[in-house]
């Protein structure tokens, strides 16, 4: 069973890590875009 366990662990682990990485990237980019949008709005106001 150890090969089976290793196969499941590797595949599911990689997919989980990649999924988490995608969510982190999207969150970071959304925050950056919101910050830039707020700065643009301030510039326009001045």
């Amino acid at each position: 069973m150890r090969y089976v366990d290793a196969g499941y662990s590797f595949v599911l682990g990689i997919l989980f890590l990649y999924g988490a990485h995608l969510l982190w990237r999207r969150k970071r980019l959304t925050r950056d875009v919101e910050r830039v949008a707020a700065a643009s709005a301030r510039e326009e106001g001045e």
């Binding site: 196969g7 590797f10 599911l12 995608l22 643009s40």
Partner: protein
């Protein structure tokens, strides 16, 4: 028309958010059910014993990588190159599909290698199926590397589309490799030439559940990755504009002696008519600075 330097990102509707969440939850539940059925409910095989349990994962990840991800990338690239359907939407979709596909392709090779060690006695063999799958991974890694080369969005999209179509030629080679050459790898279990599955009962249902679950995982990852592409493009355009304005201010603080040609070139920048204009303007400013 938006103001200078403003950032335009299409909003995501609440309905789309709910759909994405539902797909994510369904994918997670499907994977949990597949693991439970695959590891503890389905019987061991007469020949392979417990090793057969890898069948509930390995063909599923291969199906997603080869047919869904790289197939979608090829179709999207073709639609981008077709003048009547040309849109950066297809380019972003292809990029998202390739990135997710590369992860699934790597999973295919790793799980196949782990299965091959106790079955064939080796971690790797230069077998037609294995080698063509590895070549596919390298080709699409090249696609992702090419996308990181700085270029105008249209130029990047066009050359990426050509590369994706070129790489996708390997997909049918991988599929038919077990028929065209004598390989260590077994033939197709479900999609064989007779369309007569060689797996039955609870094993067949668990295999099917694995395919559906991994497909849902792919769709969820594709949606998230596509949104990342939209956000990255928006930020890149904004940063380019900011850099150009900064360079313009450095080169001409009073705005008194700017050549008329550059004024004409830079005027549309303020109107945010596209990144192409911004890049042209940047080149003009740099040329002027070099003089």
């Amino acid at each position: 028309m938006s103001a200078p330097g403003s950032i335009v990102v299409p909003a995501v509707s609440e309905r789309a958010r709910r759909l994405e969440r539902a797909i994510g939850i369904a994918a997670l539940l499907g994977i949990v059910a597949t693991v439970c059925l695959g590891l503890w409910v389905t019987p061991a095989d007469q020949v392979q014993g417990d090793l057969v349990r890898l069948v509930y994962l390995h063909p599923g990840v291969a199906w997603v990588a080869l047919y869904l991800a790289f197939g979608l990338a090829a179709v999207s690239s073709l639609l981008y190159l077709w003048p009547r359907t040309r849109s950066l939407f297809w380019d972003r979709l292809a990029a998202a599909a390739v990135e997710v596909g590369v992860v699934f392709n790597a999973c295919t090779l790793i799980s196949g290698s782990i299965w091959g060690r106790p079955t064939w006695g080796v971690w790797w063999a230069w077998d037609a199926r294995l080698t063509s799958t590895a070549v596919l991974l390298v080709l699409f890694l090249g696609y992702l590397a090419l996308r990181r080369v700085p270029a105008e969005p249209e130029v990047r999209a066009k050359r990426s589309a050509f590369v994706a179509l070129f790489a996708a030629v390997d997909v049918p080679i991988v599929h038919f490799s077990v028929l065209w050459w004598r390989t260590l790898h077994q033939g197709a279990t479900v999609l064989n030439p007779d369309l007569s599955p060689t797996i039955h009962g609870s094993m067949a249902w668990t295999l099917l559940l694995g395919f559906v679950s991994l497909t849902l995982v792919f769709v969820w990852m594709l949606l998230v990755r596509y949104r990342i592409g939209v956000l990255e493009d928006a930020l890149a355009g904004r940063e380019l504009d900011a850099a150009l304005r900064e360079r313009r201010a450095e080169g001409d603080p009073d705005g008194a002696d700017t050549p008329a040609d550059d004024q004409r070139t830079l005027a549309p920048l303020d109107q945010r008519e596209g990144e192409r204009v911004a890049v042209e303007a940047g080149s003009a400013v740099l040329r002027e600075g070099a003089r």
